[in-house]
């Protein structure tokens, strides 16, 4: 059962890529246009409650027991400098992943957020998390159940290109996708 499903993955992925021009969904239903500043929320501190608009991350995935799916690859979603706003021309990639996730209903997804090397490590760890969450929000708005998507930030610690210049940096500001099954 599992093997035949794996064999279909490539085809499904291709279908999804084809479908991304047809389908399409909101890029994010929240404040993803808020940028790094997020000044609209500056006064909302110390409530101790979830702030409205937050979609708390699902606490049910046990990664030590999950199987990573190694042969499914989607293109990374790339970002501009110091922002987690998803560029308009990257949204189709997310739509394709949403279609794939809706098709493969038993798959779980980890969105991995990455940054270029500029700025402090700790700042980039947060920025990577927000990039992953922006993609997650977008996938949720495309109908993927929130509890199937997890986020993981690598900050600047796992560059796609180890070089030091814009040609490397633009490849490193990205969200990658890792699929798992139970």
């Amino acid at each position: 059962m599992k093997n035949s499903k794996m064999a279909n993955v490539g085809m499904l992925a291709a279908m999804a890529v084809a479908g991304m021009f047809v389908f399409g969904c909101q890029s994010g239903k929240k404040d993803t246009a808020g940028g790094v500043d997020g000044s609209a929320y500056r006064d909302q501190i110390m409530s101790g409650e979830y702030i409205s608009g937050d979609i708390p991350l699902y606490d049910g995935m046990r990664f030590e027991t999950l199987n990573k799916v190694e042969d499914v690859n989607f293109y990374p979603v790339y970002f501009g400098y110091d922002t987690y706003v998803i560029p308009q021309n990257e949204i189709e990639k997310i739509a394709a992943i949403a279609d794939f996730m809706n098709e493969m209903s038993d798959y779980l997804l980890v969105v991995e957020g990455h940054c270029d090397e500029r700025g402090t490590n700790e700042y980039n760890m947060s920025l990577g998390e927000y990039r992953a969450q922006a993609v997650r929000d977008s996938l949720i708005s495309c109908g993927v159940a929130p509890e199937r998507i997890q986020t993981s930030s690598y900050g600047e610690e796992a560059p796609a290109d180890p070089g030091h210049g814009e040609s490397a940096w633009k490849l490193n500001r990205r969200a990658e996708f890792a699929f798992y099954t139970r």
């Binding site: 404040d31 808020g34 790094v36 500043d37 997020g38 929320y41 500056r42 909302q44 501190i45 110390m46 409530s47 101790g48 409650e49 979830y50 702030i51 608009g53 937050d54 979609i55 708390p56 991350l57 699902y58 606490d59 995935m61 990664f63 030590e64 999950l66 990573k68 980890v110 402090t120 490590n121 700790e122 700042y123 760890m125 947060s126 998390e129 927000y130 969450q133 997890q150 986020t151 993981s152 930030s153 690598y154 610690e157 796992a158 030091h164 890792a178 798992y180």
Partner: protein, 463 residues
């Protein structure tokens, strides 16, 4: 939920506490445990006064309790001589003497005298190695007015531990300050795709790899009072904070919440852990009761990031980084374990702890209550500041060289004087030790690869 598993390969061969290692003080410490610690800046200030006090004291009754901080010579250091330390000719005795000499020099309080006659501190005694190793050393100072004897025995393979222990005892006796020679430094090393946690002695020797996760791992931090540390690993594909016990070589999952798990810092009493999580959707600071595994959320700031918490020595305050003013700056969180803490936090957030720097990050509370942090002007440098209630009084002092390199990730030594940090030049990261009292920096780790995020052990232990 709690995972326990053997650390692979390296841990087993790794660090073991030398069994049968015994240290005994020949004389009861006059500098008993109740010594009031002074801040490093105060020491310089009071040195002159103490020299005067010591002169008066020299003519009086021998053996009264006094904190000997002064009597440093013109260079601010005691000159020591090991001319009368008798070695038995064994390789171990020579190794012991060499390490002891090096440790005393590294402590910053000593320099070597040309001869015993020209010294202010004399080390005399016997160093022997047969089936076991033993060293008895009598240290005398203040022109022989004060002396103290120490004996260490160890296995022949643990001479390095014995020498470190002796250096700390001599340092404590003569200066009244804790030494650092026996302490250990954890750090991150990158030699390939992933990273691993490494450890070395305070002098940079005996470096060894502690993990082999073959993934990204970061942020090792000692647990006060335990031979154990916390670190963040992406072992399973997502980040989680694990505890590693170096005695049992066991690893345990401590925090595996959805999203980010990073920046763990354990309170001085070992009971609580401050940590940065994104489980609610924002990046916020929490505190966990480690026994009950219960979380309390300390901040709830949408799209504002908290990071890098560090506990004050009394465990009643947390210094941390927050970027609500657009740039990351330091803030203080008072009484994080009290239920009314949130209200106090709101009050302290009105202004950062220090101003005037484009960024202030990676704070580390030292054993004397002085905060070391990384500040940015044109480059990143290491600053220290004694936090006062009035933030205008918090004037940071730059202690890293202005040599075109970046200095980041400071961590205090248990002596409250030295700081280990990352030095980055041409994208190559090495570890160096800075002296807050002005000695030149000492290079700790320069092997091929990148070495960063150090954590120095024993910050809150009064040995």
């Amino acid at each position: 939920m709690t995972e326990s598993c053997r650390l692979q390969q390296v841990m087993s061969a790794a660090w073991r506490r030398p069994s049968g290692f015994v240290a005994a003080e020949g004389a009861r410490s006059a500098l008993s445990k109740g010594i009031v610690r002074e801040t490093v800046s105060l020491i310089k200030f009071t040195t002159g006064l103490l020299i005067l006090a010591c002169c008066l004291f020299a003519g009086r009754v021998f053996g009264a309790d006094v904190t000997v901080v002064g009597q440093a010579n013109s260079g601010g250091k005691y000159s020591f001589s090991m001319d009368s330390l008798r070695l038995d000719g064994s390789a171990e005795s020579r190794e012991f003497a060499g390490i002891l000499r090096s440790d005393l020099l590294n402590s910053g309080w000593f320099k070597e005298a040309a001869s015993e006659g020209a010294s202010s501190v004399a080390l005399r005694g016997d160093v022997r190695s047969s089936s076991a190793f033993s060293a008895s050393v009598t240290v005398s100072w203040m022109a022989g007015m004060r002396s103290k004897s120490f004996a260490v025995t160890s296995s022949r393979s643990s001479v390095r531990d014995a020498a470190h222990k002796m250096s700390d005892q001599v340092t404590r006796a003569v200066t009244g300050r804790p030494g650092m020679a026996s302490s250990k430094i954890l750090f991150v090393g990158r030699t390939g795709i992933g990273t691993d946690i490494y450890m070395c002695d305070a002098d940079g020797r005996r470096m060894k790899r502690l993990t082999s996760d073959n993934k990204l791992c970061l942020s090792p931090v000692w647990i006060p009072g335990q031979n154990a540390f916390m670190y963040t690993s992406w072992l399973t594909g997502v980040s989680a904070v694990y505890k590693v016990n170096l005695d049992t070589e066991k690893r345990e999952l401590i925090a595996g919440y959805p999203g980010m798990n990073n920046g763990a810092a354990v309170s001085p009493d070992g009971r609580f852990m401050a940590i940065i999580l994104s489980r609610s959707g924002g990046v916020d600071m929490y505190v966990m009761d480690l026994a009950a595994k219960q979380l309390r959320r300390l901040t709830a700031s949408r799209r504002i990031n908290e990071s890098s918490p560090s506990w004050s020595p009394d465990g009643r305050r947390l210094v941390f980084v927050d970027d609500r003013s657009r740039a990351p700056q330091l803030y203080m969180y008072a009484n994080p374990l009290q239920s009314e803490a949130s209200l106090q936090f709101r009050q302290t957030l009105s202004s950062p702890l220090v101003g005037g720097l484009r960024e202030s990050v990676a704070p580390d509370f030292g054993p004397d209550g002085v905060i070391a942090f990384c500040g940015r002007t044109s480059r990143y440098g290491i600053y220290i500041v004694t936090p006062a209630s009035d933030s205008r009084a918090n004037i940071p002092r730059l202690i890293s060289p202005q040599d075109g390199a970046d200095y980041e990730d400071p961590s205090w030594a248990p002596d409250g004087r030295h700081i280990v940090c990352t030095r980055t030049e041409n994208y190559k990261r090495t570890l160096v030790v800075l002296d807050t009292m002005g000695d030149p920096l000492r290079t700790l780790v320069t092997a091929d690869g990148d070495w960063y995020l150090p954590s120095w052990s024993g910050n809150f232990q009064n040995n």
